[in-house]
């Protein structure tokens, strides 16, 4: 079976992560008194150059389209057109959804804004990316809660390994809105101490090893699991990919408020919490995956609260969402496959 490699990446997050080098030194972990981690956004004029299209795009769409286009921009400035586009979002265009719903209430279900309605659907940033690229191929969006990113990646991996496609763009994005935060606060969603986050992460997946950043060896979804089973699953994931548990150099953990799971994993593997930098949102595992690719490609490893030059070989990414959706991913350094 063909292997899947990550050839290019791009990320907008609450940290300096977009088109920047040496970013780790400026990163700041979320403080307890902070309740929301907003993305550091680039100047979109230089990325989405068509003002006519840009003016209708809400925050989420701009983030999703920008990392997608950046991920596909070749060194010569030309855009690579992938065989397929897979997008992931847990909540979709909330800003536009809220504006549209507000309009329904304020105007008595009359005089409804077509732009907000059109842009509110979850598949808008995937669709806009396709339109801007002139891409007429496979273009699908997964809105599967905490499994959205992994579902899009799984789709891409299945099509790549079966030989149906040669490359695929996978982008996961979600945004913070004040209403969403407040509604989820009333539901008790933030009691675990996690901050609400947002961002967009894009990956160009390919079957070509040459020039790739690392291998995406596995994506796994867990459900109704226990802390011990989670730690066991990481080991099983390693074993099913011809690795021993001790070969896992690092587990990037995105625990929610499940301290027992955190302890089980950290008792058996070296861990670093990635959500301290991006917060909690549906497609946060895209950020975890992006950090994993950066560590492997740049030869960097976490050391306490600092970073050191050290080449890791195998990184697992563990993510939780609402203590219900649990996922695992496995990255391998491309050169050792």
């Amino acid at each position: 079976m063909k292997k899947v490699f990550i050839a290019r990446t791009s990320c907008i997050s609450p940290q300096e992560s977009f088109r920047t080098n040496g970013f780790f030194s400026s990163w700041k972990a979320a403080q307890a008194e902070t309740d929301q981690l907003h993305a550091i956004e680039p100047d979109y004029k230089g990325i989405i150059t068509d003002a006519g299209k840009r003016r209708r795009m809400a925050h989420l769409i701009k983030m999703g389209v920008s990392t997608s286009l950046d991920c596909l921009t070749l060194p010569d400035g030309n855009l690579l057109i992938p065989d397929a586009i897979m997008s992931a979002t847990a909540m979709g265009g909330l800003e536009d959804t809220e504006k549209f719903l507000r309009c329904i209430i304020d105007n008595g279900e009359d005089l409804l804004n077509p732009s907000n309605f059109i842009q509110s659907t979850g598949n808008t940033f995937g669709g806009q990316t396709g339109l801007l690229l002139g891409h007429h191929g496979y273009n699908v969006t997964y809105a599967h809660g905490g499994y959205s990113m992994e579902s899009a990646l799984t789709d891409a991996m299945l099509q790549l390994t079966s030989g149906d496609i040669k490359d695929a763009l996978v982008t996961g994005a979600d945004e913070i809105t004040a209403t969403e935060y407040e509604v989820m606060r009333k539901m008790g969603f933030w009691r675990g101490g996690r901050q609400m986050g947002e961002g967009s992460s894009s990956f160009l997946l390919t079957t070509e090893k040459e020039g790739s950043v690392c291998e995406l060896a596995a994506v796994s979804l867990l459900h109704e699991t226990t802390p011990k089973q989670i730690a066991n699953s990481i080991e099983e994931l390693a074993n099913s990919n011809q690795l021993k548990a001790t070969d896992i150099d690092l587990v990037l953990t995105g625990c929610d408020c499940d301290k027992a799971a955190e302890k089980e994993i950290s008792d058996r593997f070296p861990v670093t919490d990635y959500k301290q930098w991006c917060g909690q949102y549906g497609t946060k595992s895209g950020f975890g995956l992006w950090i994993g690719t950066q560590l492997l490609s740049r030869g960097i490893a976490p050391k306490g609260n600092q970073w050191e030059q050290k080449q890791l070989k195998n990184i697992a990414i563990y993510s939780e969402y609402r203590q219900n959706d649990y996922t695992l991913m496995l990255l391998k350094m491309a050169q050792i496959n």
């Binding site: 003002a51 006519g52 840009r54 003016r55 209708r56 105007n107 005089l111 409804l112 804004n113 077509p114 732009s115 059109i118």
Partner: protein
């Protein structure tokens, strides 16, 4: 009439989210649609219909009439002046 034109320009900028346009950039006699002028499209036309109803209580009953009304800022202002109750 001049006040109405200036007000209309600002409302068009706000409602259509014309980020990089100021009222001074809009020539009231220039076409709103097509390559010249503001370069608006069919979704913008729907937004303009809503704008007239929302701010001026004016409905455009005939779609054919809309094409004429939305030729320019001047033509919209004239239509408002003639139809505002």
């Amino acid at each position: 009439m001049d006040n109405l034109i200036e007000q209309l320009k600002q409302q068009i900028i706000d409602e259509l989210n014309l980020e990089e346009t100021t009222p001074a950039d809009i020539d009231p006699a220039a076409p709103l649609f097509g390559d010249k002028g503001l370069g608006l499209d069919s979704i913008d036309a729907l937004e303009l219909v809503m704008l007239l109803e929302k701010y001026y209580g004016i409905k455009i009953p005939e779609p054919k009439q809309a094409k004429e009304v939305f030729t320019s800022v001047n033509s919209i202002a004239e239509y408002i002046k003639a139809n505002k109750k």
